[in-house]
Symmetry: C2
Subunit: 388 residues, 2 copies
């Protein structure tokens, strides 16, 4: 186990009807709230009205920024920053999924920074402060509700970049599983793939002697696998939605499940290059990339992959060699993704090899990526080719 520091101050309010506590949670931060949301599905579902009612109950002044994109864009972040400054916003309230929350984080940090917020994404500046953020989560996926990370797309530059800061942890997050009942099937699938991928990025690690962390990762994977099909067959099943939602938060709550472990994150890096150009859903991109990444790297520490096959997929060792066992686990991963309807090839989005060179080059712009196996441009290119 490596040395580490960990702190996660986000307050979680989890359960049906927790929206009723939004007012009381918001009040301490001031009177002017920037309400950030997406395409308007929260208006159809009635959640918007509930949020407004709560904010009215504490006499908050509400400023709105709607239309945050699924891969949230720098242009939207800029709009939000402007609103924060002109309206003297006290708290940013993100109501939506990870994209909306990520946009809120970038706005919160950008509003108190003299330069361009994109500086944080390209490692030109480090976040020193941010406006307080609260969230109401409507989609189980990114874990953004309980960490300080965000991913922003600069559409003009065709770049998708992440930042993380202790200052951009939400102060509170309201997680009501019933709000995910209406999430469409494909978004539910992408969310599940995203959560599993977050675990993979932490679990496939070269750090020795981390038995608790490995088991925590496996716990989340097993719970997701059990609950995915239930939620897909019965979208209004509270327990399945609740379990998936909590798995999503736990999978990336400031890195608690993998403290003291080196993480990888190269599959995310590769996926970001794909969706930066083609704007495909992040979860779909991960579903395509991850099993191919696994096949490319498993020999670096085959015993982690044999453990994965046995503990997560329940594959018996019997007479299988390490190699066969590891590959059976990877195949089981792909088979599971396919069984829930996740995409497996770039061709599913009509993406061909036109931009492979460009994507591979961009992925390693700041140097080789990953830690389980350090990937150079040629490695990324090979993985992308396997994804075609």
């Amino acid at each position: 186990m490596l040395s580490f520091t960990f702190q996660n101050p986000t307050k979680i309010l989890f359960g049906e009807g927790m929206i009723a506590r939004l007012g009381e949670q918001t009040r301490p931060y001031g009177t002017t709230v920037l309400l950030v949301y997406g395409s308007g599905s929260i208006k159809k579902s009635g959640l918007y009205d509930q949020v407004i009612e709560q904010l009215k109950s504490i006499h908050a002044r509400v400023v709105e920024l709607s239309g945050i994109e699924p891969n949230p864009r720098l242009t939207s972040v800029h709009k939000g920053i402007e609103l924060c400054r002109s309206e003297k916003v006290d708290l940013i309230l993100a109501v939506g999924g990870g994209s909306v929350i990520d946009a809120a984080k970038a706005i919160a940090a950008g509003a108190l920074y003299e330069g361009d917020v994109w500086d944080f994404c390209i490692q030109k500046a480090v976040i020193q402060q941010a406006l307080p953020i609260g969230t109401v989560l409507t989609l189980a996926a990114t874990g953004s509700e309980m960490n300080g990370n965000a991913v922003i797309s600069n559409w003009e530059a065709q770049q998708k970049r992440a930042f993380g800061s202790q200052h951009t942890y939400p102060r509170f997050s309201i997680l009501d599983p019933t709000l995910t009942y209406s999430v469409p099937r494909n978004q539910t699938v992408n969310g599940i793939v995203d959560i599993m991928s977050h675990v993979f990025e932490q679990y496939f690690s070269l750090t020795p002697d981390t038995p608790l962390q490995e088991r925590l990762c496996e716990s989340i994977l097993l719970t997701l696998i059990e609950n995915a099909k239930i939620a897909l067959e019965q979208p209004n099943n509270y327990e399945a939605r609740a379990n998936i939602m909590w798995c999503g938060t736990m999978a990336l709550n400031g890195g608690l499940i993998s403290v003291g472990m080196q993480n990888d994150w190269s599959s995310h890096g590769i996926e970001h290059e794909i969706s930066a150009i083609y704007d495909i859903p992040h979860g779909a991109g991960l579903s395509i990339v991850f099993p191919n990444w696994m096949k490319y790297v498993y020999k670096e520490r085959i015993e982690r992959f044999t453990q994965f096959a046995q503990r997560v997929w329940g594959i018996k060792r019997d007479s299988l060699s390490d190699e066969e066992l590891a590959l059976a686990g990877i195949d089981a991963t792909r088979a599971f993704f396919t069984s829930i309807g996740a995409e497996s090839r770039l061709a599913d989005f009509n993406i061909n090899n036109d931009q492979l060179d460009h994507m591979a080059k961009e992925a390693v712009l700041f140097g080789p990526i990953g830690s389980f196996k350090k990937l150079e441009q040629t490695d990324v290119q090979k993985i992308l080719e396997a994804c075609l």
Copy 2:
């Protein structure tokens, strides 16, 4: 899964040599530090000098309170409160195990309360504020380094009572596994039993549909079982000590592993009555009580016990009945405790049945205890009799 709120703001600094960051962590809270510790083993080990050096480096004024007892006493807490007031203490720094940290929490809350701090222990008052607390942990056991709970003994009244508050979470805790190398064998054993017992209190629950939480509990138990014997045979094995230390923190870090589950805590309640009178080590008391509690209650939800037997102890179902499987898991628990040298009977401490009535009565002073099975006085009496 039940609805829940969760927030744990404690900052963890984990790893060898982390004491070097004590000064920087302490500085923001002011200049006068109340250093709380136990019998002086930190002087023998050299840790005391390291702490003083760190505090000197930030020009802190150090006030000392030593001699905190293994079951920390109200009299010591009163001394600390007096010091806080007379010396205008800014931060309380606990250097030791759970007892020292618990005492620090009571001092922190009592210093800012007009009445007697014991009021918090007997539910006569609720903590509204507390001085900031920092900790340097020297013993893996109670989890007190990352939660708001404390247990205090009122020796005159022969009462041992707990309180918990959001205000008494340590602001930071330094966890260096090498500081536990010198922990004597019996204290290491008691710590491991204590950690496992914390998990048991959460794991044996009637709340349905909590698959992730159950697996997180099992993850900690499995990791402890694997590492206990290594640490006992090789006290200076970093990885074993680190894994046990992190298990201890995770087992009770504000209840994260069992959010949305009803907890039990009756075995702790029963044990507190034993050590309130006989001053035996808490972990030893738990080792005696817990398997007997298990045997008394397992039929309330036998499938949790069959799951425990299979997943934690690796017992195969084969042709075993639920009953046999559940009992085999309980026997395996006792066998494990015995294998690491933990006590199994009150007789091991020369405790007979003289005070059983009194203990059973005190245990239910505020009403029946537990939730897996609600225990009345007669139930507690029967469990205690089984412990003889």
